[in-house]
C-alpha cells in the first residue's frame, strides 16, 4: 500500500514537473493494474446466479451481439452501472458497450440527426423524450416484455412519464427523491432540537435557531450553465405543499398560468426561508450568495457547524466531501421536507428513462432487463457507496447500501406518498431549462416574486 502510494506520488511529481507524455503513459499502466484488481474484487459481489435467465429466451440466441448504451452518467457512477449489467451479459452473451458523457443532452440530438443514434439512451427528463418523439423519427416504442415489467414493478404514474401520445416508449430506470432537508444529527442532539414534523414546526425551529444566535439555512443554486435548477426544486416542493398535487399538475401542464396566485403564494412561502436575511445564507454570505454558491457546496457549511439545514435531493448524499459519514448517527442525515397537509404526503421525484433507437432483439432484451426487478437489485448490490434508488417495487430495500437509500426507497414505496415528477423537467424547454432557472437567480438577487412569475409566464411558448 505504502509502496504504491509513493510510486504514484513520484509519478505525479514527474508528470507535473516534466509533462513527459511517456512518463504518464507508463504511470497509466501502473495505475491501471491496481484499479483493475480492486474493481475485479468488487465485481464478484453481486451474484449472477440469482437472476432468471429464462426471461430472455424469447429474444432468441443473442450470443456475440452488442448493445451500445449512451448516457449522461459518468464516473464514478459509471462503474456501478456497468457492473450491474454483468448478470445480463452472463445470461445472454450480449456485450453491453457503455458510453457516458456530460454533454449527453446536446450530443444525443446531434447523433440522432446524423443517423448515428446509440441503441439505448438514458433520458434524464420526460421533456427530452417528448422532444425526441415529436421532432425525430428515431426512437422506437418499448417491446411488450418491457411494458409488462413496468406494469408489474412500477406505479402507473411512472409509466405515464415514459409515454408520449399514448405510446409507451421509455421504462423508468433510477429514481430520485428530492424532498429532503439535510442536517447534522449530532448538532441537533447537542442543541436539543428535534426533527420537525410539519412545515410550521420547521419554521418554529428556524426561529429557535435564530433566537439562539445562529443562522438556520444554507442554499446554493449554482450549477454552471444550468444555474438555478436547485431553486426550481425548492419552488416545486413548496407548490406541492401549499397548493397541493392537483394544482401542481395544472401548473406544469399550463392549465393555470405560471403567475397564478397559488404559485405566487408558494414562491412567497419559500421566500420566507430563502429571502429571509436572518435565515440564510449561513456560512456563505448574504441572500444573493445563494445564486453564486455551487449547489454541491451549498450544504458544506453544515459540516463546519455554521449551518443547520439544507434542502437537497437524495443524490446530494454522494456530493459530501470525502470522509463524511451519512447516517442517522453520522455526520449528516436528511429528514423529509415536512408539510402541514395531513391528507397527502407529497414527494418531489425525478429519474431517468430508457429510450431505444433500435429494435434488434438484443436491444429489446436489454431494455427488458433494465426494467426488471433483477436489474434493480443487481444495481443496488453493485453500488456499495450508495446514492442510488429506484421506484421499482421489486427492489429489495435490504440490498441498498445505506440506511439513507433505504429511507428513500421507503418513501418511494409508501402508498400514502403522492409522487410528482420534477415540474421543470416536464415544462417546455424554454421555461423548464430556461426562464425558470434564470428567474430563480433573479428572485434571490432582488427581483420580486410578481416580477419573476410574470416574466416566466410571458416566456411560455
Amino acid at each position: 500500500m505504502t509502496r504504491t502510494m509513493t510510486v504514484t506520488k513520484r509519478r505525479t511529481y514527474a508528470a507535473i514537473a516534466g509533462g513527459a507524455a511517456l512518463a504518464l503513459t507508463l504511470a497509466a499502466c501502473g495505475g491501471d493494474d491496481g484499479e483493475g484488481g480492486g474493481g475485479g474484487g468488487g465485481d464478484d459481489e453481486p451474484t449472477a446466479s440469482s437472476i432468471d435467465c429464462e426471461a430472455y429466451d424469447e429474444f432468441g440466441d443473442l450470443e456475440g451481439t452488442t448493445v451500445n448504451v449512451y448516457t449522461s452518467i459518468v464516473e464514478p457512477e459509471q462503474q456501478t452501472q456497468e457492473d450491474s449489467y454483468d448478470p445480463f451479459e452472463e445470461c445472454t452473451g450480449v456485450e453491453v458497450k457503455y458510453e457516458g458523457s456530460r454533454e449527453f443532452e446536446a450530443q444525443l440530438l446531434v447523433r440522432i440527426q446524423a443517423g448515428n443514434a446509440p441503441d439505448i439512451a438514458y433520458l434524464p427528463q420526460p421533456g427530452l423524450l417528448r422532444t425526441i418523439v415529436e421532432d425525430f423519427d428515431a426512437i422506437v416504442p418499448a417491446p411488450d416484455a418491457t411494458a409488462a415489467n413496468v406494469d408489474e414493478y412500477f406505479s402507473e404514474s411512472w409509466k405515464d412519464y415514459g409515454t408520449v401520445d399514448g405510446t409507451f416508449y421509455a421504462a423508468p430506470l433510477g429514481s430520485n427523491v428530492k424532498s429532503y432537508v439535510w442536517y447534522s444529527p449530532s448538532m441537533f442532539a447537542d442543541a436539543g432540537y428535534e426533527v420537525p414534523q410539519t412545515w410550521d414546526e420547521m419554521i418554529d425551529l428556524s426561529d429557535q435557531i435564530v433566537a439562539d444566535g445562529q443562522m438556520p439555512w444554507c442554499a446554493g443554486f449554482g450549477s454552471g450553465d444550468a444555474t438555478g435548477w436547485p431553486g426550481t426544486d425548492w419552488i416545486e416542493d413548496v407548490v406541492l405543499r401549499t397548493a397541493g398535487p392537483e394544482v401542481y399538475d395544472q401548473w406544469y401542464t399550463h392549465e393555470i398560468p405560471f403567475n397564478d396566485p397559488q404559485i405566487v403564494e408558494a414562491f412567497d412561502t419559500a421566500g420566507e426561508i430563502l429571502k429571509n436575511d436572518e435565515y440564510v445564507n449561513a456560512g456563505l454570505g448574504g441572500i444573493d450568495s445563494i445564486a453564486t454558491t455551487e449547489w454541491t457546496a451549498g450544504g458544506v457549511p453544515i459540516l463546519a457547524g455554521q449551518c443547520w439545514m439544507h434542502r437537497a435531493a437524495n443524490f446530494y448524499q454522494t456530493q459530501w466531501p470525502e470522509g463524511t459519514e451519512v447516517g442517522e448517527d453520522g455526520d449528516v442525515f436528511a429528514f423529509y421536507l415536512p408539510t402541514n397537509q395531513t391528507d397527502v404526503r407529497p414527494v418531489l421525484g425525478g429519474g431517468e428513462f430508457v429510450g431505444a433507437f433500435n429494435d434488434r432483439p438484443e436491444v429489446q432484451a436489454f431494455q427488458t432487463y433494465l426494467s426488471s426487478a433483477d436489474w434493480a437489485n443487481a444495481k443496488a448490490l453493485t453500488t456499495p457507496m450508495g446514492g442510488w434508488v429506484s421506484a421499482n417495487n421489486g427492489l429489495d430495500p435490504e440490498n441498498l447500501a445505506t440506511t439513507f437509500d433505504q429511507l428513500s426507497a421507503e418513501i418511494l414505496a409508501d402508498p400514502d406518498a403522492v409522487i410528482r415528477f420534477d415540474a421543470s423537467d416536464l415544462m417546455p424547454g424554454e421555461v423548464g431549462a430556461g426562464t425558470f432557472w434564470t428567474g430563480m437567480v433573479d428572485w434571490v438577487t432582488g427581483s420580486s416574486t410578481q416580477e419573476v412569475v410574470d416574466r416566466i409566464e410571458a416566456s411560455w411558448p
Binding site: 504518464l24 495505475g31 464514478p76 457512477e77
Partner: protein
C-alpha cells in the same frame, strides 16, 4: 513576448527606405532610425510603462495562479473557501492529481496517448496538403486561380458548429464514424483554409527571381518546391504547426462529436471529470493542469517561431 515584434518591423522599414533612396546614404539613414529606435525604447521602458506592464502581467496571471493553488488544496477547502485564504492557512495535498489521474476507470493518462495520436496526424495532414495547394496557388498559373483562392479563403468564415451534423452524417454513410480517421479528417478540413492562406502568403513573398532562376536552370515544379521553397518556408511551417497543434490539443468540440469512447482526447475526459452532476468539480483544476502541460511545453519551446511566423504569414498578406 510582446516586445519581440518590434525588431522585425524596424529592420523591415530600414530595408525599404534603403532600397528606395539607394546608394551612399544608408549609414546616416540607419543611424537616424536607430536614434528613433533608441528614443522609442526609452519611452517604452519608462518606469511608468514598465509598472503598467508588470501590473497587467500580474492581473493576467492571477486567475492561473489561483487555479494552480486550488489544484493543490484539499476538497473541503476548495468547496468552502477561496484559494487566497491559503496565505493564512496553508494546507496542500496531491490527492486531486492522484484522483484525476488514476481515480476511476476513466484513467486520464490513457487519454493522454489518445490526444497525441489525434494531434500529430491532425497537424501533419493539413500542413502537407496546404503546402501543395499554396504552391499551386502561388506559382502555377492556371485558369480560375484567383476565384478558387478566394473560395478557399472564404471557407474560413464557415463556423465549425454548423458543419458538425452534416459531416457526421457523411461519416456514418461512409461507415467510418467513431474511428480516429473522422477526427483527423475533421481537424484537417477545419484547418485547411487558414493553412493554405498563411502558407500561400508566405510563398508569394519569396522573390520570383529565385524561382525563375531555378526554372532557367532546368528545375521542375517538384525540384523548385523541395530545393528552393521548402527551406525558406521552415519558419512559416513551424509557426502554423504550433498553431494547429495548440488548437487540436485544446479542442473539445470535434473530439466530443466525432471520437468514440475509446479514442476520446484528453479534453473530453477532463470535461467529464466533474462527475454526472458536477459534484467533483474540485478535480477540474488538477485535470486542467495535466492537460495544459504539453501545450505549455510546446509553446515555451517554440515561442520564437510562433511570433515570427505569425508576422510573416498574416501581417504582410
Amino acid at each position: 513576448m510582446t516586445s519581440t515584434p518590434t525588431p522585425p518591423i524596424a529592420s523591415e522599414d530600414s530595408l525599404t527606405t534603403q532600397g528606395a533612396s539607394g546608394g551612399p546614404r544608408p549609414v546616416k539613414k540607419l543611424s537616424r532610425l536607430e536614434k528613433r529606435a533608441i528614443a522609442a525604447k526609452g519611452k517604452l521602458s519608462s518606469p511608468w510603462a514598465s509598472g503598467i506592464a508588470i501590473l497587467l502581467a500580474i492581473l493576467w496571471t492571477v486567475p492561473t495562479v489561483g487555479l494552480l493553488v486550488t489544484s493543490f488544496r484539499p476538497q473541503i477547502d476548495i468547496l468552502s473557501s477561496g484559494w487566497w485564504t491559503t496565505l493564512r492557512d496553508p494546507e496542500f495535498t496531491l490527492s486531486n492529481y492522484e484522483q484525476a489521474l488514476y481515480g476511476s476507470s476513466a484513467n486520464l493518462a490513457t487519454y493522454f496517448v489518445n490526444s497525441i495520436v489525434i494531434t500529430l496526424p491532425a497537424v501533419v495532414i493539413p500542413i502537407t496538403l496546404a503546402l501543395l495547394a499554396s504552391y499551386a496557388f502561388a506559382w502555377i498559373d492556371f485558369k480560375g486561380r484567383s476565384i478558387l483562392f478566394v473560395a478557399v479563403f472564404a471557407l474560413q468564415i464557415v463556423p465549425i458548429q454548423i458543419t458538425l451534423i452534416p459531416l457526421l452524417r457523411q461519416y456514418v454513410q461512409w461507415d467510418i464514424a467513431g474511428t480516429f480517421w473522422t477526427v483527423w479528417l475533421s481537424h484537417s478540413i477545419f484547418a485547411l483554409p487558414l493553412a493554405i492562406f498563411l502558407l500561400h502568403n508566405f510563398m508569394k513573398d519569396i522573390p520570383p527571381s529565385l524561382v525563375e532562376a531555378a526554372r532557367v536552370d532546368g528545375a521542375g515544379h517538384v525540384k523548385i518546391f523541395f530545393r528552393v521553397l521548402l527551406p525558406l518556408l521552415v519558419p512559416a511551417i513551424a509557426s502554423f504547426a504550433i498553431f494547429q497543434f495548440l488548437w487540436v490539443w485544446n479542442d473539445l468540440l470535434v473530439g466530443l462529436t466525432f471520437a468514440n469512447p475509446d479514442s476520446r482526447p484528453l479534453t473530453v475526459a477532463v470535461a467529464d471529470l466533474a462527475g454526472s452532476r458536477g459534484g467533483d468539480w474540485h478535480l477540474l483544476t488538477a485535470g486542467a493542469f495535466i492537460s495544459m502541460i504539453v501545450p505549455l511545453v510546446v509553446f515555451l519551446a517554440l515561442q520564437r517561431y510562433f511570433v515570427r511566423g505569425l508576422l510573416a504569414g498574416s501581417v504582410k498578406g
